[in-house]
Amino acid sequence: MNKKTRSYVEFLYILPFLILVALVAYYPLYGWIYAFHDYMPPKPISSETFVGLKWFAYIVENPVRLADIGRVLVNTFAMSGISLAFSWFPMIFAVFLNEIHCRPYRKFVQTVTTLPNFISWVLVYSVAFNVLSSTGAVNSVLVNLGLIDKPIAFLSSKDHIWFKMWLWLTWKNAGWAAIMYLAAISAIDEQMIEAAKVDGATRMQIIWRITIPCLLPTYFVIVMLNLANFLSNGMEQYFVFQNNFNRKTIEVLDLYVYNIATTGRGNYPLSTAISMLKSIVSVALLFITNTVSRLVRGEGFV
């Protein structure tokens, strides 16, 4: 087999997988055309259902819808903003975890705090439900101690929902996110720390002057990724935690898009139009943050 034939044969080997990628990753982009039609399943779209920019205009012209989207954007910005504002938490978590010199204890803490990362949001919700329900562990303890008279409805209230969502997100992810920083800490040059110790630096000084500055490049990438995903909180967490009490304040963009397509009569074109706009903004954010990263670090993350 000569070289030319061989290279085509090898292409034929990967062709089925390329087609699969085209179908599951590229073809959904074609689904954006539903935003330009009056689509009501099961009737397929055709030239008769084509309505041009009707749904995009509808977003802007319908005051109720516009107010709705404003509310959803506030939720999205609030939740992403809180995540961003506390994005240093896993780093600090790792830094002080590294200060624990008793290895078995450190290993234990790391093991236990990483576990929640590997369970699904449904399970997180189940855990939350079981622990926080009116007869759950938290309310039982609080009532027994006489701190409260009647159980607190943690999950079926709209109070502090943004912060609660951040708490659950952190409960699930912080231990895992810390692992990356722990890897970066172990890469710090021992000699630097030894030299500081010889000069009489305290542990806090070593942390503040050596460890944290060494972690900042990693942290910077995390912040940039956070910014790139500012509009994409995902829907799963908010979907499982949403109920009739908190719906107004928990609805982020991803969940809103799902809700308008599935509740009531189901407005697929409107949902598609909004998610199309979101995708475009997200890609733009990715480009911007990547450029910023390239300017600051001399290297992008894409």
């Binding site: 090898e10 997988f17 179908l23 929640p116 855990v127 439900f129 829907m235």
Partner: protein, 316 residues
């Protein structure tokens, strides 16, 4: 960022008299305590659910089981197979995890390997074609509509095909394959082995460590997957996974109550009140069943963690 760039105002906050050990000791004690709290917050909920699922159902219903199991019984588990649909959901979950993991790993290994072969026609182009899909997505609704068009909605393969080509994993395999000495492949090729033979006989054994990592993460993803069930399997309750069933048990308290009266109260005379099924007992025991596989493989895959997190850090 180096040490030198930090502003020089050292020793300000620390009393010079007890600079070294006492201050450090205080930090140590605080650190130990704070991390004990973190560990408790992460571990206790699981412990709480497990002890409640094996305790007297009347006590757990009233929130009395907090520290250790009380009046232990295993009826909640032995009764599980009588909960309608649960066994089928478990089968679907296991099946999709098995099939999905095997395919994901094989595809990642094969494409990762092929993208290192310089003979491949337009190699760089196809690699980019696959890798770039990490950075965009159409949004869930267009995705659902297109999956419906492809016939993947209400079809078991809807769990599999959209998830098996993972650019992250492919890049990981590609990087690993690149670190394998060229001579290994060349020797085999001189002996007359073709592309596929080199892949199966030479590369797969050599890149096993990375495949193990990928397998574990792919399996956890498949097991935990909920969204595809929710979005695609709208008319096929028989294809529901354990995750989805659990979600239903938590959110649809009314149907759960009906379930409870169907499963137990028929032989309630036989069962004492302490072991009779309640909404809480079903919720908790199903939670344990769904979380158990993760906990069981957890000790084995801890050593893959650092590699796993690098999955997110590698570049194409």
């Amino acid at each position: 960022m180096t040490v030198k760039t930090a502003p020089v105002r050292a020793k300000k906050h620390v009393n010079p008299m007890n600079r070294q050990s006492p201050g450090d000791k205080v930090i140590s004690v605080i650190t130990y305590l704070v991390y004990a709290c973190f560990a408790f917050v992460c571990a206790y909920p699981f412990y709480y659910i497990i002890i409640n699922s094996i305790s007297s159902n009347t006590l757990s219903e009233r929130g009395k089981v907090l520290f250790w199991p009380m009046e232990i019984h295993f009826k909640n588990y032995s009764r599980m197979s009588t909960i309608p649909g649960l066994l089928d959901a478990a089968k679907i979950s296991v099946l999709r995890t098995a099939v999905g993991t095997v395919l994901t790993v094989l595809i990642a290994a094969f494409l990762g390997y092929m993208f290192t072969r310089e003979t491949l026609w337009k190699r760089r182009l196809w690699f980019r074609f696959v890798a770039v899909t990490m950075y965009f997505n159409a949004g869930i609704i267009p995705w659902v509509l297109c999956m419906r068009n492809l016939g993947l909605a209400n079809n078991f393969w809807g769990y599999i095909f959209p998830m098996v080509v993972q650019p992250f994993y492919i890049i990981l395999c590609k990087t690993y394959c690149e670190s394998v000495p060229r001579e290994l492949q060349e020797a085999a090729e001189i002996d007359g082995a073709g592309t596929l033979k080199v892949f199966f006989r030479i590369m797969i054994p050599v890149i096993k460590p990375i495949l193990a990592t990928i397998a574990i993460f792919a399996a956890v993803n498949q097991w935990n997957s909920f969204q595809d069930n929710l979005l695609l399997m709208t008319n096929r309750p028989d294809l529901d996974t354990l995750q989805y069933k659990l979600y239903q048990y938590i959110t649809q308290a009314n149907s759960l109550k009906a379930l409870v009266s169907n499963t137990t109260n028929s032989n309630a005379v036989m069962a004492s009140l302490a072991t009779a099924a309640t909404a809480t007992s079903i919720r908790m025991s199903v939670t344990v069943v769904v979380v158990l596989p993760i906990m069981m493989i957890y000790p084995f895959f801890q050593r893959f963690f650092t590699k796993g997190i690098m999955i997110g850090a590698v570049k194409g």
